[in-house]
Symmetry: C2
């Protein structure tokens, strides 16, 4: 029986009665629907088109309802007001979601901030994935930046952030899963295969490490990627770690299977000073230096793969979408010793150690600064010549080293921390980071510009670094509130509290005070920096309980939801 | 047959089929297309309703076109973004007009600004119409303010602005039309009628004025509004002016016909000290003091009528809509002399003279200040006790007196101008108006608050006043760039140029720097003040050619059309 014939089988009145009942049911179900679900509204919307003149300048096509309500197109609103919106599809209905900002979450710690804990929201950062990270150096284990220079250079702030993101992940993530493939404790031969009969792998006692290790020997002349091969076959854990000591030049190669059309890639870690290279086919190269003393290395194979394939001649690495399906095997070539070949789901503490070590080794002993060997140009300011020191770099370095001391208890970190204070007492002209706002307020400059630029987020990172060192001294050495770190911190907090209003635009924050220094338009902070400002204030408020900070946290949080300062 | 029994009479499947068909019909009917109206666009707009979630907080009903474009209701946009819009009806079509701001025009002079010309855009101001003007005093001819006190008090800034608006109108409007009803030059009797046989009107030679004048005499006991009556019958010109000298108490009444339901009103100007009164029927009263020496009076009858009917016990006069249809007659009572009874379309120069005279007479001789005898409370600051001096008042007073000297050439105005500089050299604590921003920049305070408030518009008015006096001295006395006025002006301009960026919010301007001084949210200037800032900058740029001002004029003009500062 067709619908038509059903309809014919009943009187019109009865049919209408039935129809009405169902429509009422529908209506009721719309009213009763949970507030999350849209359809409570009457969707009968008779509209006509109407022209809208914007600020006497241009026309936009709008809609007018029968009740003379005007509707403006979101395309216009988005452009004109710089807001965000997109259609979201839920089970059974669509909803349009409008956002004032595209900001990430503000720092909102569950436990009090300490110098030995998670750093702000850095457990969610992925520094190595940034397109301005050229690669993770095989020599130092820390990122090389292309932010202001194509060649790639070590940028202390980036390295510190790399270190702190791994430290914070170490503190928050569950322990990694691990597969140990070779620790030289059992019989060796079954696991290894050889490309050449002159390749040899044997167990040896290493007295320096007081451990059994693998000694490997292959002819010098065999090609890269051949030698003694250890089957791994791991489809889950992609962080490779091992201890290595090379006696002569050689290499360590890792064969990966991927979902890429190239299928198989080999990453070669070679005892030379190459940064990174890619043959545009299936081979990626990283230099690891001579590696002639024992070192513990951890390589994030996916990062190494992506940075290799994405290698670029611009300042931005190409975005690469590739997935590792299997870490097939590892091949050693040349002469040396290896131990504890492991694949794990993470090696954060090793990566943090590499960053700490870099910070320790690369601090300028004379000035105590982490010098940035790249010219820096800020619009409107004189170029800052290579070799400058950043208060942010000093602060972030101190945050790393405070944690490094806490974890590794190596007194050399305390020495480095103390040295790191020196630039805070010297003006930018003297090669330091100290500036003064209108003869009144002490400031620590992210960029030692002429004139001063008073970058807010860099200043607050420097205060956090000072706080970390100060707290470390208090908690682990029983220091009181005397001495340089507390004084530098308190002077900075006084300035912060006093000057915070100068960064308040009423609906956004300002990145710096260049508008005041150079008589230009304010340099409005994009939402990402606005959230950084807020997160830093939340942290500094949590440790200082300074009520002014609380007030600004409240006001500035509102800006993320379009709650602007009142006009008179 | 009940619905239930219909349902029972059909199989479940068939019923569902039927139901689905109707629901589909309903769905289709929700996609609507209602053509009509505007010409140039395609008016076929099929839309459906869709819910929009705003900042994860609340729902707004939007529309979605068949091309999935989203339209948001202007009601929401207006509230959320604080913008303006209204439907305009043109010949043959309607158009919706969207505006970022509700601002008036920015000062855009056709001829260069001078101390003797139009003051900014004041030719468009109507000070007496402001609801915070209680009335125009019959004694002084200048407004009484209720802005911060219900009683009504003389507020120098308001009086100066009243003076400058009439001066600027005098400079820009075409000469008034005038009807002279009595100048005692012709035979008298025909024009006058008398309510009582003891009333007398006669021509007399007045030796002080060297002119024929009318002497009037009526019994003391006759009621207000009776006496010697002069028919006017003017339906066009509503500014009454005359010269008057009273010998004993008396009054001058004017009978008006209006479009009001009360039809006829009489305004009584009485020789007492009453400010204003209204019998809630048809009589309005103004005191004019003893008036025992010759004075030239000009009364804006419409203003006097409206302020009378609108008299209020709050700080705001009631809005009154009334139109004068005829000025019927004038009645004098008591004993005195009157001359030059005139109705004209304006009497701006008389009103400017009254303001100048008030400024001259009410300057505090000791401090040189126009003291404000009202307590002033600014949110967040200590209350300023009555008797305070305002840099804005000093500046506006100087702008009035510079023009007064230029027009009337009375040296007393130069004396007053010189005295007016004194508060600029004394700090707020010392009773002056001078402040310093962070030990660096000199500022002249509109309100001498503790701490300083750095109100921008008041500061710029003070600079314009200083510029006016400085220019007067240069042009009419051949002064050079030495001396106090140029120095105060140049110090102020240096501060303005340096500090202007601190008032830049990136999309609005700030009214003052209380956010910096009190650590609060910025006090965003409403669009009216934003336009004042711009007009003042245009004026100061036109006379200084300071390029920084030009830059800010450009940026800040953009804010009126939603062109905001860029983010990084």
């Amino acid at each position: 029986m067709s619908v038509k014939s059903i309809e014919e089988s009943l009187s019109k009145d009865k049919l209408n009665e039935l129809k009405q009942q169902w429509l009422n049911e529908l209506k009721t179900s719309q009213i009763l629907s949970v507030p999350d679900e849209p359809p409570q509204t009457d969707s009968q919307v008779p509209v006509s088109a109407i022209q809208c003149l914007i600020n006497d300048e241009k026309m936009v096509q709008c809609l007018k309802s029968s009740k003379s309500e005007i509707y403006m197109p979101f395309d216009f609103i988005q452009n004109y007001f710089d807001v965000y919106g997109k259609m979201k599809h839920y089970d059974g209905y669509d909803r349009f979601e409008f956002q004032q900002s595209n900001a990430k979450d503000v720092y909102n710690p569950k436990t009090p901030y300490t110098y030995s804990g998670v750093f702000m929201t850095f457990e969610t950062s992925n520094v190595e994935a940034r397109d301005r990270v050229k690669c993770i150096s095989g020599i130092t284990g820390v990122p090389l930046s292309t932010q202001w220079h194509i060649e790639g250079y070590y940028y202390g702030i980036q390295i510190a952030q790399f270190g702190m993101s791994h430290y914070s992940k170490h503190m928050t993530q569950k322990p990694p899963t691990k597969q140990v493939y070779e620790n030289a404790e059992e019989s060796v031969q079954p696991r290894w295969t050889f490309s050449n009969k002159n390749c040899l792998v044997e167990k040896k006692k290493d007295f320096e490490r007081n451990s059994q290790v693998i000694k490997f020997t292959t002819p010098d002349s065999i090609p890269l990627g051949s030698g003694a091969s250890l089957v791994l076959g791991n489809t889950m854990e992609f962080i490779l770690s091992f201890d290595l000591k090379m006696v002569a030049n050689g290499s360590l190669s890792v064969v990966l299977e991927t979902n890429d059309k190239m299928k198989q890639y080999t990453i070669h870690y070679i005892t030379n000073s190459l940064v990174i290279d890619y043959d545009l086919k299936s081979n990626i190269y990283y230099g690891i230096g001579p590696s002639s003393t024992w070192r513990h290395m951890a390589r994030d194979l996916l990062t190494d793969l992506k940075k290799g394939i994405g290698i670029s001649t611009t300042r931005h690495a190409k975005k690469v979408k590739v997935v590792i399906q299997k870490v097939s095997r590892l091949i050693v070539r040349g002469r040396g010793y290896i131990d504890n070949v492991t694949l794990s789901s993470s090696e954060h503490l090793t990566q943090f150690f590499d960053a700490s070590q870099w910070m320790y080794l690369n601090q300028d002993k004379e000035t105590g600064g982490w010098k940035n060997y790249v010219e820096r140009k800020l619009e409107g300011f004189e170029a800052i010549p290579s070799g400058w020191i950043s208060a942010m770099g000093q602060g972030q370095g101190m945050s790393v080293l405070s944690r490094a001391y806490h974890v590794f208890h190596d007194p050399k970190y305390i020495v480095a921390l103390s040295r790191a204070l020196q630039p805070f007492t010297k003006s930018s002209e003297q090669g330091g980071v100290r500036a003064t706002f209108l003869k009144t307020y002490t400031w620590y400059e992210e960029y030692p510009t002429k004139p001063s630029s008073f970058v807010l987020n860099g200043f607050m990172y420097s205060l956090i670094g000072l706080y970390d060192f100060k707290s470390l001294l208090e908690h682990e050495f029983g220091f009181g509130s005397n001495g340089e770190p507390p004084k530098l911190y308190h002077d900075g907090m006084t300035s912060l509290t006093a000057m915070l209003p100068l960064y308040d635009g009423g609906s956004h924050t300002f990145y710096d005070l260049r508008h005041f220094m150079l008589h230009t338009s304010p340099n409005v902070a994009r939402w990402g920096y606005h959230v950084t400002h807020l997160s830093q204030l939340v942290l500094l408020y949590s440790v200082s309980r300074e009520p002014v900070l609380k007030k600004f946290i409240n006001n500035w949080s509102g800006y993320l939801k379009g709650k602007v300062a009142k006009h008179n």
